[in-house]
Symmetry: C2
Subunit: 153 residues, 2 copies
């Protein structure tokens, strides 16, 4: 299956499937609103992401069907001698392909894009209630060196 997966920047037409995937998840089901019509906030975020050269909303496709999503943000930082970083967020795969390596391919693609954008670091945070996700990222070579702190405002 792996060789048949390809990646592209999401279009407005993918938004419905993206929100469906984000919602089809224990944590996502509590915080997303997958309904018709989609809440306008998703469209606004899509427009903001799409028009920002430092954000890429990426979909994974298999047989022309969207089966995965992730958002990659490229940020110029003063720290680390002024190094750019890539931050990965919102990684989800369609339940129809779960366990088939699409998630791994998504992350590998993000790492490739980070290299193309001359980042020195790829980073993400993963909820401590997802031990499987932590192991998944550690297998891919991520190091759990930091605490990920959040504050709702």
């Amino acid at each position: 299956m792996k060789s048949k997966i390809n990646f592209r920047i999401a279009t407005q037409n993918d938004l419905d499937k993206i929100v469906e995937m984000l919602s089809d998840d224990i944590l996502g089901s509590q915080r997303e609103r997958y309904e018709q019509p989609l809440p306008n906030s998703y469209k606004q975020a899509f427009d903001a992401t799409s028009s920002d050269p430092n954000n890429e909303l990426v979909v994974a496709c298999y047989d022309n069907e969207v089966v995965g999503v992730q958002q990659i943000t490229f940020t110029p930082y003063i720290t680390h001698q002024g190094g750019w970083r890539a931050t990965i967020e919102g990684v989800r795969t369609s339940s129809s392909v779960r366990g088939k390596g699409v998630g791994t391919e998504l992350i590998k693609y993000a790492i490739q894009r980070a290299k193309e954008r001359e980042c020195h670091l790829v980073q993400l945070t993963t909820d401590k209630t997802r031990p499987d996700a932590l192991r998944f990222y550690e297998r891919l070579g991520f190091k759990s060196t930091h605490e990920g702190l959040k504050m709702k405002i």
Copy 2:
């Protein structure tokens, strides 16, 4: 002292002091290069940050002297119903004022900016080798709900 601290966007003239503060730190001393002239990568990162409406390199000033720095990045995300987040990075205070609450005021300022930019979340990662920093952020109301994963590339 608190009431006399003010905040502004950093200018090119602040860059030397900023890099000095980033370097004057156990972890920073290993990864920054505070030398004259400053490595060009800092200037490039400063230009990239300054020209990006979603990045703010902020300095804290006391008596017109720069005594603290942080970078705030605003990111539109598809997740959380298309919510914007503010990410704080590179928080440092001058050793001349350490312990006087400048760090607290910096973070409070970042939270204020996040609210002004209509973010729903403020986030940061802190190195697990800095237990004092973790306690500092938890006292300010951050929750250590996530693992912060990094991969050097």
